[in-house]
Amino acid sequence: MSDATAFGLCASALIGLGLYGLIVNPQPLRKILAFNVIGSGVFMLFGAIARRGAAAGMGGDPVPQALLITGIVVAFSATALAVALLLRLHAATGTATLATDPPPPAPDRDA
């Protein structure tokens, strides 16, 4: 197994783990972490692709590396915004849940 394949498989595992966490964890903070795990998986996959595309004596394809840096900055900003919202939510309500269940619809008035 080549380096690129090994990294690619690790990346897939990270994405799968992250998706699982995003779906089943009810706490927002865990969802934010799960999002970051998926993000790491995607970035790792991009790294593996850069490695595979190595040519002309270079260790890797430089374009994905440039995009990766940007992607990490975007993911970092997203995390910062989400955590800031979560902190405000906690300060305002004292809880930090998404309260996933909407209230049941009110009964018909004329029924």
Binding site: L19, I23, I32, I49, V63, V74, A92, D108
Partner: protein, 582 residues
């Protein structure tokens, strides 16, 4: 590919709003609104400039950043749909700006507050991000633009900082992030397969094979989550419930158009030979479900604001009906033809009409201090301009001649005829009846005579009322404006017997629907007459309405929505593989 004359206008269209954001942040408080008042008309002028340049250019307006051509460099491109969207969005942003001066303008001497500053900055940020979405020529820049759009859209939900709105904002952000990471994964796969992310270069090299199928499925579903297409509309209704009307108009009319436009780019420009007719049918089937569920739940809302929000869920469905109709008769490849024109026209019609509708609902809320549909009696007499705005928006969305929605519907019906997909004809015709339903419900509520004359708690600004009316009228007259690019005698006389007959039929159907499904039946002279006989019908249909509400509540729970996201990605992938015949 080289920079075309006037290409620098594209740079300006993106940079000017962001320049406004940064200057506004530095200047702060009171000056932000004056800055916005300066930037908004300037941006509109730039949009007009881009349109004028495009008309003189053969093909697209292009700007190659730093002189580096793709695949190494990045190019900005504005083709027909992009130019139309830039213009339409500029118009809507300016109208929203005029409207919002009443809500977020600081009177001289008033203490500075946080919300107005943030609102004006975010309005400009949303605008700049949208322009970037429209002109981006490569998939990674589009990813960044999409994230910028989300980051500027989310805080609009929680401007007042109450716990409930913060929760809605967080839910919106998390679901949007799940969508964008799927999009990024798809983009990474495409780079791995073809070594470029430039749209034009990708279109030449992409082939129907596993990596393209996987990328298409992931990116499409990720974008649908951001567009809030049923059943992925988890974030939309709560987001609108607590946001001020000026922010709701931005979210509903503008923000969701960004990710929708990206789906169009992806399907029509990047991989027209990869997507298949069955996958397009799935997309439109989700749209049809959105129309039915969104409309029925809209009819059962108690608050006007939420009625409009759920009607947005339904209107998003319309935007996806064009995809299967864009395939030619053999169903082998996407062809850029009347269906794409219809889709863009629909998007513009919706952006203008829905912004007007949210503004009208917001004005009613401001004037009365509440927006309970059952307590709107007398509003028609107290605020005639606002009521007319709401009704004109509704009529424009119904697709009455000569609205933009009418022309779009006509083009799509023709396409459905030509490709033999008769089932979409039913959806296209039936959708208008649902829209008519809530227009009738609203109209009956506001026309009722109150027990004592209604005295508005607060006077609304005349400029706000007129800004909303201007947008609604624009949507109603859009077909006339669009006749330049669309040839042929497609618009008939609105007063011809056939058109009046159709309109009346649609309104009648809508009245019937509103009467049977609304939580409180619209009571009027007709309602009273039919009263006793209809009670049994209503008792029969009430569980149907509740069932729709229950289904909507169920798919809007986090686990079902996120599992739906993954399932849909798998389903799209399967349909892409299956439909290619390989």
């Amino acid at each position: 590919m080289n920079t075309t004359p006037g290409g620098w206008l594209l740079i300006l269209a993106v940079l000017l709003p962001f320049l406004g954001v940064m200057l506004g942040l530095v200047l702060g408080g009171r000056r932000a609104q004056h800055l916005a008042a300066l930037i908004l008309p300037l941006g509109l002028a730039i949009a007009v400039g881009i349109a004028a340049t495009w008309l003189q250019t053969d093909g697209a307006v292009v700007y190659v950043l730093g002189g580096w051509t793709p695949p190494l460099g990045i190019a900005l491109r504005a083709d027909g749909p992009a130019v139309v969207m830039i213009g339409a969005i500029a118009l809507v942003v300016c109208a929203i700006g005029v409207y919002a001066r009443a809500d977020f303008g600081l009177a001289a001497g008033a203490p500075e507050a946080r919300a107005p500053l943030v609102y004006w900055l975010l309005l400009m940020a949303v605008w700049g991000s949208l322009n970037l979405v429209f002109v981006s020529g490569d998939l990674f820049t589009l990813y960044v633009a999409l994230e910028l759009l989300t980051f500027s859209g989310v805080p609009l939900v929680c401007l007042d900082g109450r716990g409930e709105t913060l929760r809605s904002a967080l839910r919106y952000l998390l679901f949007a992030l799940a969508g964008s990471i799927l999009y990024l994964l798809g983009a990474v796969l495409l780079y791995g397969g073809y070594g470029t992310l430039d749209i034009a270069l990708l279109a030449d090299s992409v082939a129907p094979e596993p990596i393209a199928w996987a990328a298409a499925a992931l990116m499409t579903v990720g974008l649908l989550a951001k567009t809030a297409l049923f059943p992925l509309h988890i974030w939309l209704p709560p987001a609108h419930a607590g946001a001020p009307a000026a922010a709701s108009a931005v979210l509903s009319a503008l923000v969701i158009k960004g990710s929708w436009f990206l789906v169009v780019r992806l399907w029509f420009d990047v991989m027209p030979n990869v997507v298949t007719l069955p996958s397009a049918q799935l997309l439109a089937a989700m749209g049809a479900m959105a129309i039915v569920v969104g409309s029925v739940v809209a009819l059962r809302q108690e608050r006007l604001k939420l009625l409009v929000a759920y009607s947005t869920v339904a209107q998003i469905g319309y935007l996806f009906l064009m995809f299967p109709l864009a395939f030619d008769a053999t169903g082998s490849a996407l062809a850029q033809d009347a269906a794409l024109t219809a889709g863009v026209l629909q998007a513009v019609a919706h952006a203008t009409a829905k912004a007007g509708m949210f503004m009208a609902a917001g004005l009613i809320y401001v004037a009365l201090g509440h927006d309970r549909i059952s307590d709107l009696a007398g509003v028609a007499r107290a605020m005639p301009v606002t009521v007319i705005t709401f009704v004109v928006s509704g009529v424009a969305l119904m697709g009455v001649v000569p609205s933009g929605a009418y022309l779009a519907k006509k083009l799509l019906l023709d396409a459905a005829d030509q490709s033999g997909q008769w089932w979409w004809t039913i959806v296209l015709q039936g959708g208008a009846v649902f829209t008519a339903g809530y227009v009738v419900l609203f109209l009956v509520s506001v026309l009722r005579r109150p027990a004592e004359p209604l005295v508005p708690a607060k006077r609304v600004a005349r400029s706000s009322e007129l800004a909303a009316l201007a947008l609604s009228v624009t949507s109603l007259l859009l077909a006339l404006a669009a006749l330049g690019p669309v040839s042929g005698d497609l618009v008939s006389n609105p007063l011809a017997p056939k058109e009046i007959g159709t309109t009346l039929l649609v309104l009648l159907g809508g009245a019937l629907l509103a009467f049977m499904l609304a939580r409180q039946p619209p009571t009027g002279p007709a309602g009273a007459a039919a009263g006793a006989a209809s009670a049994s019908i209503r008792r029969l249909l009430s569980p149907v309405g509740s069932a729709f509400e229950g289904a909507d509540g169920y798919v809007r729970r986090w686990p079902s929505a996120s599992i739906g996201l993954v399932t849909l990605a798998v389903l799209f992938g399967w349909l892409l593989v299956h439909g290619s015949g390989g």
